[in-house]
Amino acid sequence: MPAFDYKFQQLEPIRSFKKVPEAEQYLPGHRTCAGCGPALNYRLVAKAAGKDTIFIGPTGCMYVANASYLCTPYAVSWIHAQITNAGAVASGIEAAFKIAARKGRHTGPFPNIIVMAGDGGSVDIGLQAMSGMMYRGHKVLFICYDNESYANTGIQVSPMTPYGAATTFTPPGKEIPEGNTLFPKNAPQLVIGGHPAVKYVATTTIAHPLDLMNKVRKALSKPGPTFLHILCPCPKGWLFDEKMTPDMAKLAVETGMWSNYEWEDGVYKYTNVPKKYKPVSDYMKPQGRFAHLKPEHIAKMQAFVDEKIKQVQRPIPVAAAVPSKQIA
């Protein structure tokens, strides 16, 4: 069977804010919270992807808050998936378009097939489906919008919740003073470390809109599965003033709690690396979810972040198990 011709869409990098495409594909008229980080992310991703796009929306805030009462804000085709299976549903859609293209039923460019999954739908309950999709090499962009909790159900701990964060399943108390005792999974590393067919993995935040949109476009130009891990602060869950949503994302990068990087052909490239990292307490103080922490807990977090930062100073090139250039 000859290699499939995806007939890529021409999605050029966006050079400046003024060159951002005007058309909105994620329309106003959704009941996301005022100042919602994931909603802003959706808008930027949809703008970057353009009209020849199909979104898969597993259950979560970006399903329930967006799709209100038999209406949705998506100007492009969209389908609901279970929180468990977004990667699998996306795989089926991709396969259907491939066969339709092979049979001549679908002409024109291959659609941008984009999963918008929360952290739970990506690395917890949705992990299996995400991994299966990455393994099989479908041309799908899997985006993890990370608000660091199961937010839609009222803020419960997820494998991306930071150590020491209060959630309704990790309330601080006499016996458990820090609230959440666990450290989060490393989502991009899960993808990079184990899936030879993956073409591109990147991290970014909603406070870096041009970076975000260009990483979306770059991912969509790859002939296989790609993964974006995007920090989307959540005012309701993290307990900060809703106008500070982008500021929280900036602080995350400035303190080393979050790093923006790309992984492509086995090579890491970091951006927005602070000359001098601010202490993690700068990030944690403005957020009510950390208000209960004692100095010893913050020190534990600082130690964790210090280890993470060491990786940034010294990026370790990782060879893909199968060099990505050789996969059709």
Partner: protein, 393 residues
Amino acid sequence: MAKESMMTGCRAAAEGAKAAEVEVICSFPIRPYTAIMMELAKMVANGELNAEFIHGEGEHAQLSVILGASAAGARAYTGSSGVGVTYAMEVYSPMAGGRYPAQMAIADRTLDPPGDFGSEHTDAMSTRDQGWLLGWACSPQEAYDNTLIAYRVGEDRRVMLPQMVCQDGYFISHIPDTVTLGERSQVKEFLPPYNPINHLSLTNPVSHGPQIRPDQGAPMDAMRAQTFLEVPKVIEEATADFARIFGRKYDPFVEQYRLDDADIAFFIMGAHSNTARAAVDKLRKEGVKVGMARLRWVRPWPTHQLAEALGHVKAVGVIETSTSYGGAMRGGNLIHELRASLYDLDDRPLVTSFMSGLGGETIWPADFDYMAGVLTGMVKEKRTDRYVYWLGM
């Protein structure tokens, strides 16, 4: 003249999927249905079938993949057995409610615990509230035929529902029998291409499955129920058309074997009906006026058709190859709906049930003798002594 050959139920189901020119197949291995996927894999690899063959990461993924494929306008196919069927449970209702008419082939297997490769119907029966079309074959030929009939019914625009096409594990899935495959022209005449409604498209953007308010829920449910009022007619049309084109005639809902003048009857589904037919013949020679009613469709349940077929009979024995622990009769699944079907008759038959073939055991001709004896006794006493008999226990 179409060629006759020997093949297993698994191979027959795969041939049916190939004849239907399925476009997206999602596999995952579990005994005893795996051979269906192995056959399809060979067909795809050899270029006999132009389809995407996707290795799902589990049964839940299999159903999810075909949901996506069907939503995007492709004819999709998958299958499973036993706990694989129950693992995928979450996805059945989204598929039925989303009106994605993909097909799932099931080769029955007992549910865990513990591992048992034998056939029981409980796996597929436990999904029957999810809104799919659900039916059983009793031979490899019927497995092939039902594959085509199910797509024809499920993709009909009056229906648009996913279908489960079931066959007993091992008895049907693994034992070869004669199968006549359809000619391409026959299949093309019988089964039109899949014509999706509002599939995911770039030119006509749609949203599949937004959140709804509670008051929007009842009309959603009502629409799905309304469809099931329409389905029997579509099944009748399709079955009649099948007979016309392929020359094989099935009673759309209930195979009625020597039932017309029967005093007692076996009500049965699936593979063991082959033994039942032979048992009926033998008992008839001995003067017992016995018949057999074999159920082909569990959803939609043919309430009136069963009342019509069995209404004149004095005692019905339900042969149960599934379990419903704590159920009204403390036995299997079929008896509840069978009794409900007969309830409003002026002169109701007596009804009992026989738990048999559980674990994948054979139901022997001697078992049918015993069951006929029980039913005859019931007719004489004019009463049902017990709801359920556990054969051999």
